[in-house]
Amino acid sequence: MKKTVEELLLIKNTQLNHDNFRLDLKSSTKLPQIFPGQFVNVEIKKSTEIFLRRPFSVLDVDYENNTFSLLVKILGRGSNVLTTYQAGDKISVIYPLGSSFSIPGKDEKVLLIGGGSGVAPMLFLAKICGLDPQNVHVLLGARSKQDHVDITAYKHVGNFYHTTEDGSLGEKGFVTHHPVFKSELTAFDRIYTCGPDLMMKAVAKEAAKNQVSCEVSLENMMACGFGVCLCCVEKTIEGNQCVCTDGPVFNINKLTW
């Protein structure tokens, strides 16, 4: 898919919880096809402090209206300013970028594990992969109930489970402590995960041990996002590879974790 730099129109900025926002962006032309796991690189002009773009995964696409959305969690300076943008603002975006999750086979049973803002690509994937909702299991982890991002639009794509570290929503503990992960892991054909490094590594470890196919989405620091700076590398069994072009989605059997 051809990558472009485009000024998009912010049509809606919705606060989802204390530090997560959903931005809906509209293109004035036909949207390129965007796959789950792919990301966009966003210019944040309204701040004296930001120089580089900031990468965000695509949360959902509406081809009919040529809009797509991002889920932005406030982490630092850039994400903070971005969430102050208002409907009507223009935002320059480079997209679509990176690799996507592999689409599961028709009857496969999949487990999608999202933590923090890592829920974004998970839900897009859940929607796209067109499986019988019976076969789709989504496990979302957060620190506590108030950190959980509720994207109700997705409620129909499958079975939802939650964990929170303080037990205020769903199971108490990390995603890897949830029964669906602990006891039913080998029942899944594929696991997909996106979130904090530690979470993904814990998931990957169990998946590898149980020989379940597992794909992770990495969030290495990026300068360009389209493969020219070589800053975002991850060690793989084939040497250093760019997370922005060879990834962000990697099958764990390719990583040196």
Partner: protein, 303 residues
């Protein structure tokens, strides 16, 4: 119609805007965004004889109006270049220049000979200023004798235009420029990145795996511009100027200060269409100011 073309030795660039080494891959990586044939030239990612994995992650830190990188010349080596890159670029209507790197003078020479054999590579940029490698790189570029030694050796095996890329991490860049001019360099390009550093106050660790890295972007523009002007006043060979160029005005400033051509680097990360926008911007500026040739701008600073 103004004439945008500029010349380094007998090599003609259709316009003065090149992309900088390490910021545009081998050209192909930005072909989605721009028509490469609209560029004056493409200086490709630093190449070495043997493949290099580069430095460990993390390799990047954002800084005020700039960034630090510590890539460390990751590349697949010259064999791969010949086999997998050269065939794709050799017929594109622009000037594709190889950025030549080595840890020893012998490596520089051997690599240059390999590149010399490639018909459609019209020039090399000899990188004696990479701050991110343990051996060679910048070490060659910060003293006159070592800079002279590399250029002398490479000059012997290379007849096409030889551009030597200088390090800004020196007390007097004109001294180095004169030294390499003395050894037959056809042009100098400047500046490479400034040695910088980032610290994470929370972890109390360096941000980069290599502790220090190379600073690029608009932050360095005023220093780079000063160096171009100083070098313009002390050598006769053409200068390819760079360092923080983000738009046509920046590029024009470098030309006024003495650069015959410019390279656009970090700006590509912000928007890969910037180099072509700069070509258009220079064109408009010349028309507006009724200047016939881009080359008339070079060094026209009124003091």
């Amino acid at each position: 119609m103004v004439d945008l073309s500029i010349r380094i030795k007998d090599l003609v660039f259709k316009n003065p805007v090149l992309t900088a080494s390490g910021t545009c891959g081998f050209g192909e990586e930005i072909a989605d965004f721009v028509d490469l044939s609209k560029l004056g030239g493409v200086v490709m990612k630093g190449t070495t004889l043997k493949p290099r994995q580069g430095n460990d992650y993390p390799r990047m830190a954002e800084t005020p109006s700039g960034m630090l990188n510590a890539v460390g010349l990751q590349n697949k080596g010259v064999d791969n270049f010949e086999k997998n890159i050269y065939p794709n670029i050799k017929d594109i209507d622009s000037q594709f220049i190889v950025n030549v790197n080595g840890s020893t003078i012998e490596e520089y020479v051997e690599l240059t000979e390999r590149i010399n054999a490639l018909d459609k590579i019209p020039a090399i940029e000899l990188n004696i200023s990479c701050p991110n490698v343990k051996e060679g790189g910048m070490a060659f570029g910060v003293s006159c004798p070592s800079a002279e030694a590399v250029v002398r050796a490479v000059r012997k095996v290379y007849d096409k235009p030889l551009i030597v890329k200088l390090s800004p991490n020196v007390t007097d860049i004109t001294e180095i420029a004169r030294a390499v001019e003395g050894q037959g360099a056809d042009a100098v390009s400047l500046v490479n990145t400034f040695l910088g550093m980032a610290v994470d106050a929370n972890s109390r660790k360096p941000v980069l795996s290599t502790i220090t890295g190379g600073l690029s972007g608009p932050a360095i523009k005023p220093i780079a511009l000063r160096m171009v002007w100083q070098v313009y006043n002390s050598v006769k060979i053409p200068i390819v100027g760079m360092g923080g160029i983000m738009n046509a005005t920046d590029a024009i400033e470098f030309m006024i200060a003495g650069a015959s051509a410019v390279q656009v680097g970090t700006a590509i990360f912000i928007d890969p269409t910037i180099p072509v926008q700069i070509v258009d911007g220079i064109n408009n500026y010349l028309e507006l100011n009724k200047i016939q040739n881009a080359s008339d701008l070079v060094g026209c600073l009124q003091i």
